[in-house]
Structures are given as structure tokens and as C-alpha cells.
């Protein structure tokens, strides 16, 4: 790798320190540093250790057991479940635009100031649910067991509570269930709809009041 060594202007007949630094930052030096750090990593976290143990168990797509679906949450709120705290962990502007009734706003990076007390049930939500799931996993890993995330986030809330849609081909049991959901929806100011003739797998767009956009952490 000689050709890749960094050009140095002449005249720096350096002390041993400068020379050592030069050696270390030469390609060969860097390669050795990298190899030694990697070998040490192998020793520090050997093949037999827990898979990805350093990255405390974050469920890949959000464990369902930690999720509460929109309808269950709606029932909890309507029935004033004792100790229930609903936290909106999105940006303030999004919270102002629309939030689940009774929710409090806590930005995601200030959750440490709003940790659950014993006996409380805390439900976190975001626009799509994924970020809330990660936050809940983090809290659970620290021992806060009564924390849940809202499945499918506000998008699911908009679909299932604000604009629940009864499919045209619903069975009798589904219609009976829908009556309760429709009551729940109206309690929250939602508008139950019946879907005459639309195909069963059509995506119902959320209403303008609940237009949601996922928090962007990626690129």
C-alpha cells in the first residue's frame, strides 16, 4: 500500500512523537489498529455470548404482546381506567394538530422525565407505532412493565375509532361487534361508516383531521 501513504511536505524531520503519529495514521498503521480493535471485540463479546446482547432486546418489528390496539385503548379511556396515562411522543406541532383525547404530550427524548409510577398503565403512541414500540421496549428493558404502545399508532386510531367502516360483506357477529365500535367512535367524535359495495380490501383513507405522517428517522 505504499502508493497510498499520505504525502507530507518536506521539512518535518520530526520528533519521535510526530513519527509515531505518522506511522499510526499510515495505511498500515490504521489497518493494525482496526485489526487489534476487532480482535479485542471478538474477545470482549465472544461467539458464545448472547446474540447482539449489546443492543438490549429491541423487538425487531415491535412485539405484539407489548401493544394495545386502538379499540382497547378507546375502551380504557371511555371507561376512565384508573391509573391510565396516554402519552403522545411526537413533535409539539403534531400534538397540537390532533391528539388522542386525554393524551399528554411528552417529546420522545424527554421520556425520562415522565416515567411511570407503580400502578399506572402507560400507553405511548406515534403516527405509525414503530417509534412508540421502540420506546416501550426501552422502558420495559429498564423494568417498567406496565407500558404499552398503540398498535398502528394514530393511523390505526384514525382507521378504527375515528372512521370505523363496516364492510358490506360483514357477518352477523361482525355487525353486532360493530355496533359497540360505532358507539365508541361517536364517543370520541368519530364517524362510523358502512361500506356499501366497496371491495373488502380497499384502504380507507384517514380523514383530514387525522392526517398522519410518520416521524422520519431514516434517510
Amino acid at each position: 500500500m505504499r502508493g497510498d501513504r499520505r504525502c507530507r511536505t518536506a521539512g518535518r524531520a520530526g520528533s519521535a512523537g510526530v513519527r509515531a503519529a505518522q506511522q499510526l495514521t499510515s495505511s498500515r498503521g490504521l489497518a493494525w489498529v482496526a485489526f487489534l480493535l476487532a480482535a479485542a471485540a471478538l474477545l470482549a463479546d465472544p461467539p458464545g455470548a448472547a446474540p447482539d446482547g449489546l443492543r438490549a432486546a429491541v423487538p425487531a418489528a415491535g412485539s405484539p404482546a407489548l401493544a394495545v390496539d386502538a379499540i382497547a385503548l378507546a375502551r380504557w379511556i371511555r371507561d376512565a381506567k384508573p391509573g391510565l396515562r396516554v402519552l403522545d411522543i411526537r413533535a409539539a406541532a403534531a400534538f397540537e394538530a390532533y391528539h388522542v383525547p386525554t393524551a399528554r404530550h411528552v417529546p420522545r427524548n424527554r421520556l425520562d422525565a415522565a416515567l411511570p409510577e407503580p400502578g399506572e398503565t402507560v400507553v405511548l403512541y406515534t403516527d405509525d407505532g414503530a417509534t412508540a414500540a421502540a420506546a416501550v421496549a426501552g422502558l420495559r428493558a429498564r423494568g417498567y412493565d406496565q407500558t404499552f404502545w398503540l398498535e398502528d399508532g394514530l393511523a390505526g386510531w384514525a382507521d378504527r375509532i375515528l372512521e370505523p367502516t363496516l364492510r358490506a360483506d360483514a357477518t352477523g357477529a361482525e355487525r353486532a361487534e360493530f355496533r359497540e365500535i360505532a358507539d365508541l367512535a361517536r364517543w370520541f367524535g368519530g364517524v362510523p361508516r358502512t361500506d356499501a359495495g366497496a371491495p373488502a380490501n380497499a384502504e380507507a383513507p384517514a380523514s383530514a383531521s387525522a392526517r398522519v405522517k410518520a416521524i422520519r428517522r431514516g434517510c
Partner: protein, 191 residues
């Protein structure tokens, strides 16, 4: 109509005609890479996220589409995701500011190193116009691919690669494979 060929930088800089300042040789790619790796690590430590580039372009496009046709943005998740709060204030978008930073950093570095020049990089046997058309076409294909893969070399390959995301390594492998495969077809723009 002089063609502007760039030396690969591995040799020392050749004397260049009509350069206000002789361009300095490039930094060792390993050192530059380590520098970038340190910046990436800083992003992890300070922000809990990595770098990116294509997302900033998505924001610009989505904001543009929102100006032209708000209905399109409202009904299309591909645009809505990037136009969200950014419609009100695109400058509140982290990636967009980061990309502006990239441009400034490159500008200052290039200027100080004497490498700033209004030019079109191309080989001796292709016209400027054709090279620019190829560049545009390449960019369009890349934009499409980056959206599909949910990232580009900075956001997915570098960030995901360092964080050991399988998708990042899949992306690097397939991108390199495709590039190697197609390279012979566009060789004439450099020869």
C-alpha cells in the same frame, strides 16, 4: 472545448494549464474514510441517528409537489412522509440541513485545495451535452432505486453498514454488482 480530465490523484499533481492555484493532491482514501467514520460515529453519539442524503432530495421534491398539487401529497404516502412538517418549514428537516452542510464543507475544502472549477467531468470522446444527459439519466435511475431501497450510500450503506443492518449490506452488494455489470456499457464517457 478542452476536455478536463482529472488525474486519479494517486500520482502527484501534474502541472495544469491556466489553473489559478495548482490543485493539491487528494487525501489518502483510508484517512478520508476514517474521518467520515468518526463523523458518522459522532452522529450516533450526539443524535442517535446516522447520515443521509437521498432523504433531503425527497423532502425537496415533496415540498415542491405540495406547492404544485397539495392533493397529490395528501393522498400519496411516498410524498406525505417527507412533506409532513417540512411543508410549513423545510428548514426544520434535519437531513436537509445536513445536506446543506455537506455542500458547504465540500465547497470550502475544494476552494482551499484549489480544486474548485466550473467544469464538466468527462472523457475526451464525449461531448459535454451527452455527458450531462448521462449524468441526469444516472441520477434519475439512482433516485428511483434509492427510494425503493429506502436509502442511498450515505444513509443506508454507511449508516446501516456500521450498525450491522442486513439491508445495508444487501444494498451494497447488489449496487456494486449492478454497477460492475453495467460499467462496460458506459465506458466511452471516460475513455
Amino acid at each position: 472545448m478542452a476536455t478536463l480530465e482529472r488525474d486519479t490523484g494517486r500520482e502527484r499533481a501534474r502541472p495544469r494549464v491556466a489553473a489559478a492555484r495548482a490543485p493539491r493532491p487528494y487525501m489518502s482514501p483510508y484517512l478520508a474514510g476514517v474521518g467520515i467514520g468518526i463523523v458518522l460515529l459522532l452522529a450516533f453519539v450526539l443524535m442517535g441517528r446516522g447520515l443521509g442524503a437521498s432523504g433531503a432530495f425527497s423532502t425537496v421534491v415533496s415540498v415542491g409537489v405540495a406547492q404544485a398539487s397539495p392533493a397529490t401529497v395528501a393522498s400519496n404516502p411516498a410524498f406525505a412522509r417527507y412533506a409532513g412538517e417540512g411543508v410549513a418549514n423545510p428548514l426544520a428537516d434535519w437531513l436537509l440541513i445536513e445536506v446543506i452542510g455537506i455542500t458547504l464543507g465540500a465547497l470550502v475544502s475544494g476552494w482551499l485545495a484549489g480544486r474548485f472549477r466550473f467544469a464538466t467531468e468527462r472523457g475526451p470522446n464525449i461531448a459535454v451535452r451527452n455527458r450531462l444527459l448521462l449524468a441526469f439519466a444516472g441520477g434519475a435511475v439512482m433516485g428511483f432505486g434509492a427510494k425503493l431501497a429506502r436509502g442511498c450510500t450515505s444513509g443506508l450503506a454507511l449508516t446501516g453498514g456500521a450498525l450491522l443492518a442486513p439491508g445495508a449490506w444487501i444494498f451494497v452488494a447488489t449496487a456494486f454488482a449492478a454497477a460492475f455489470a453495467v460499467a462496460p456499457l458506459v465506458r466511452r464517457q471516460w475513455r
